[in-house]
Amino acid sequence: MLLIPCPHCGPRDETEFKYGGQAGIAYPADPDALTDAEWLDYLFLRDNPKGPWRERWVHAAGCRRWFDVTRDTLTNEFGDIGR
């Protein structure tokens, strides 16, 4: 069970959180400008790196705030925390 550093509440057990997948996938400013393939890319295609990456969590059973954090997918060690 991960110990996740909530930027608002401090370190808490993973069971208090929900996962939000890769961070930094913004809703396109003009969805109509995208081809079907580009829209599919936005909806479904995500990176899957071995090593550090940026991901989203929501402290669902705590402050209910979303935040971004860096986690090494190999070691599960957390790095920079965003808000």
Binding site: M1, Y27, P28, L34, W39, A60, T75
Partner: protein, 875 residues
């Protein structure tokens, strides 16, 4: 093996406290502190069970959790049964019943019928966690003492997970099942779990009487038992020196010490009719030339040079494996250490948080110069089954022959070998067989043991019951149960409940002697002809406040809400970004900056999460607050042509006329004496109201509605009638008509999808796939025989489909299906490819025992002109 209790000694037992238990119908006597295994040994009982596949007699092989042989089923005095435990770990108690196992236990309820085991879970945090109570562990704990103090608790670590998370089980030795699962978060972990002795593999190495050497010493020292009278010791290291001395001190005659380092080997055993050890066959030095440590174990001696020594005990030591499972759980890596011929933690691992000390780190005391010896070839000429009794994993009945077969089949990864042979999958987790297996595989493949490695270690380290893992979260506490304020009335009036998410909802209210179908037909008829009432409290309700709620709702719903007038309500559809329908409900404008959203019962939490996610991560500029108020309001739906009369009686100050309180509006009102809200919305097509009052008054409102409707014969109804009434009108239920692959257009609800604004999911509706004409569309379905109610989920095929050639192309499936009082016949809703183009066509519904014909119809089968929503239409 003729074990017996010594006249004195035994550091782990209390000779002042006698205990008796039942083993296979025999009363066995021992002392407090004995395990089942030690008590059996003390009483000369050496055959504990039979092996899982080969039905061979098996005895006690070890004195701890590494036991692969003596597996038993127990029933504690308190009545709880546990199906498969090593006899070497079970403390004896008066009243304990123990039965032999042939490898597999049975789950049995106590005679009382309920499991009364007291199983808890608790959570703890510490700066340093030391796992292991041996000398190294005690030393580490002593060094780690902190200002906050320390505690020593007797439990067994099950696994190490991320970020210093450790689970451990604590069992209280009482006549019942008592256990606590500890969830520990440790800043630092010291693993001091010691090492486990491993055997050497030879022919007929599984007889009762063959035992790990260290275990024999444990039985002497801890339990005051002489495990046998004439013992042969087979070893390749110095740890057996102390064992020899201990056994001699206990009066055991050590008749031979067969030291593999001198080239002497035990090649097999002999037994009596019951399979018990009676003798050991020994090959002296020159035999060794044909079975070097890493040589191919395929050359056999002819057997002429063997010596046979009578013995009732054969003590084996093939070396010691550091207990590295917990280290490996935390993804610590291992390396093969030639110095001790075993896998040890690789200190180059990335785990600053975890330290391994003592024997677990490879510092095995008294080992001396080990001569790696893994397996002794069979004596005599090579035959097909020459290796068939060289047991590697006693618990799984797996032999060298099985290993040869696996490797011969091309399985070279030790993970594949494990799965093919099942070696290491028993409850001992391969403690005695794992490294031996790798070494034999390495020898056969001509590789180094270190290159072969060992299979992945996974929690739990010792068997733990699912009940223990669940702890208190069993039975009624497995999941929260949510009930409405009116629930006591429903119970008292015979409601049959169904679970909707965590809610208990009345499914129907049967009257005396009434079937489900009759009750539902009666409830539906009341709603269509007079008046009926339903507890709708469980609907999700979300209070939305802030100046930007209107804009927000325009983005969240497929249709427009910013233009909704205060006092009005609107039905809304919600999609996810992939364009598939996610939820629906009626949302009302309470004020310019305040809306009251309703969601489906089962989806309320998911909708709130969805709103929060978009608000926080995409549109933090929007000034909107979303708060769940589901439990703040009790809701009663009053449905049917006489509902206006009922509501008029309940809320005398409310003008209920159609002009003053029209369809799709809401009003503040004093309802049954309480300030609440009345909504004129309908999920049945009938004139209907949903009355909301603060939850505190929920039951009072329910009873007031009953009283006010009494003169009209008001009829309480449940979820089944609700489903029928809405289906007659073609209203979909999200999660029943939809399954995450259905768009609003598929449901025939393009009318609820704005073309003038962007909303979540809109771009997906423009995808080519979303516009295929052969997408499954929601339609009505009328079985040709009006008495047939098709099972929900029934597949539909074309009328000319050849049912003998599979797979039969599917046209779609039935999503909802009922008998209808209003239609006087059965009907269904279905998702059918290009369904709207097929209205009027016949399809086939192949059931298990017959094929039913049905005609596709419009999804709205009752009152398609919506003439009933303001009350009984005037002719």
């Amino acid at each position: 093996m003729t074990g017996s209790r010594l006249p004195d000694g035994g550091t782990g037992i209390d000779r002042g406290q006698r205990r008796t238990f039942d083993f296979e119908g025999t009363v066995v006597s021992g002392f407090a502190g004995d395990t089942v295994a030690s008590a059996l040994l003390a009483n000369g009982i050496d055959v504990v069970g039979r092996s899982i596949y080969h039905d061979r007699p098996r005895g006690i092989f070890s004195a701890g959790p590494e036991e692969p042989n003596a597996l038993v089923q127990v029933r504690w005095a308190g009545g709880i049964s546990e199906p498969m435990l090593p006899a070497t770990t079970i403390p004896i108690e008066d009243g304990l019943q123990v039965r032999s196992l042939a490898g597999r236990g049975r789950l049995e309820l106590p005679e009382s019928g309920t499991d009364t085991g007291r199983l808890d879970a608790l959570y703890a945090h510490c700066e340093v966690l030391v796992i292991g109570a041996g000398a190294s562990g005690r030393r580490a704990a002593s060094n780690a003492r902190t200002a906050a103090g320390s505690a020593s608790i007797s439990m067994t670590a099950l696994g190490i997970y991320d970020h210093g998370y450790v689970t451990a089980v604590e069992r209280r030795p009482t006549p019942t099942t008592e256990g606590r699962l500890w969830h520990i978060r440790a800043g630092r972990i010291v693993i001091a779990t010691g090492a486990t002795e491993r055997p050497i593999v030879f022919a007929d190495d599984d007889r009762p009487g063959v035992m790990l050497a260290g275990a024999a010493a444990t039985y002497v020292e801890r339990y005051g038992i002489r495990p046998g009278e004439r013992a042969v010791i087979f070893t390749n290291n110095d740890t057996t020196d102390a064992v020899t001395a201990t056994l001699r001190g206990a009066g055991t005659d050590i008749v031979a010490i067969v030291d593999a380092r001198r080239g002497d080997l035990v090649v097999g055993t002999t037994g009596d009719d019951a399979g018990r050890l009676t003798g050991v066959r020994i090959a002296r030095a020159d035999y060794r030339a044909r079975s070097t440590a890493h040589g191919r174990p395929d050359a056999g001696a002819d057997g002429d040079d063997l010596e046979r020594i009578e013995a009732d005990l054969l003590l084996v030591s093939g070396g010691w494996n550091p207990n590295v499972a917990l280290w490996a759980h935390a993804r610590g890596t291992l390396r093969f250490d030639e110095r001790i011929a075993a896998f040890v933690p690789d200190r180059a691992g990335p785990h600053g948080r975890i330290e391994v000390v003592g024997a677990a780190a490879g510092e095995v005391e008294g080992l001396g110069d080990i001569g790696p010896t893994w397996v002794v070839p069979p004596p005599g000429p090579a035959t097909d089954d020459a290796w068939a009794t060289h047991y590697v994993d006693l618990g799984r009945d797996s032999t060298v022959q099985d290993l040869q077969r696996a490797l011969g089949a091309g399985l070279e990864s030790i993970e594949h070998v494990k799965r093919y042979t099942t070696i290491g999958t028993g409850i001992d987790q391969g403690r005695t067989s794992g490294v031996v297996t790798s070494a034999i595989a390495a020898a056969i493949l001509g590789q180094d043991v270190g290159a072969i490695g060992v299979p992945t270690f996974r929690p739990p380290t010792v068997p733990v019951s699912f009940a223990q893992l669940a702890a208190r979260n069993r039975g009624a506490l497995a999941d929260p149960i949510r009930v409405t304020h009116s629930h006591p009335w429903h119970e008292a009036n015979g409601a049959v409940f169904e679970d909707v998410g965590q809610w208990k909802r009345p499914h129907h209210f049967p009257q005396a002697g009434e079937s489900v179908d009759d009750a539902v037909l009666r409830e539906c008829r009341a709603a269509r002809t007079s008046v009926a009432m339903m507890d709708a409290t469980t609907l999700g309700k979300i209070d939305l406040q802030g100046p930007d709620v209107g804009v927000f709702l325009d983005r969240v719903y497929t249709n427009t809400f910013s233009s909704l007038k205060v006092g009005s309500c609107r039905y809304g559809l919600m999609c996810r970004a992939d364009g598939m329908v996610f939820d629906d409900g009626v949302t009302s404008r309470l004020a310019d900056d305040r809306f009251h959203m309703t969601t489906t019962t089962g989806n309320a939490a998911a909708v709130l999460d969805h709103l929060e996610e978009w608000l926080q991560t995409e549109w933090p500029d929007l000034r909107v607050h979303a708060t769940s108020v589901t439990e703040q309001w009790a809701t009663v739906a009053v449905v049917g042509p006489r509902s206006r009369d009922v509501v008029a009686g309940l809320a005398p100050s409310l003008d209920v006329s159609n002009a003053a309180f029209p369809f799709m509006t809401w009003r503040d009102a004093v309802i049954a004496g309480t300030l609440g809200r009345a909504f004129r919305i309908s999920f049945s097509g009938e004139l209907a109201y949903e009355l909301n009052v603060p939850t505190w008054h929920g039951l009072a409102l329910w009873e007031a509605v009953l009283a006010a409707g009494a003169t009209f014969g008001i009829t309480p109804y449940g979820t089944q009638a609700m489903h029928v009434l809405r289906a007659e009108k073609g209203y979909p239920i999200i999660g029943q008509e939809t399954d995450g692959t259905v768009t609003p257009q598929d449901l025939g609800m393009a009318w609820a999808v704005s073309t003038k604004k962007d909303f979540i999911g809109r771009r997906s509706h423009r995808r080519l796939d979303a516009q295929r004409p052969d997408r499954k569309q929601l339609v009505g379905l009328l079985p040709t025989d009006p008495r047939i109610v098709l099972p929900e989920g029934t597949q539909l095929v074309a009328p000319d489909a050849d049912l003998t050639v599979t797979p039969v192309p599917m046209l779609g499936h039935v999503t909802s299906s009922y008998d209808s009082a209003a239609l006087g016949r059965s009907f269904a809703l279905a998702l059918v490819k290009g369904g709207r183009e097929r209205i009027g066509q016949t399809v086939l519904a192949p059931l298990v025992d017959r094929v039913v014909e049905a005609v596709i119809a419009d999804s709205v089968l009752f009152d398609p002109e919506n003439r009933r929503r303001d009350g009984e239409p005037q002719p």
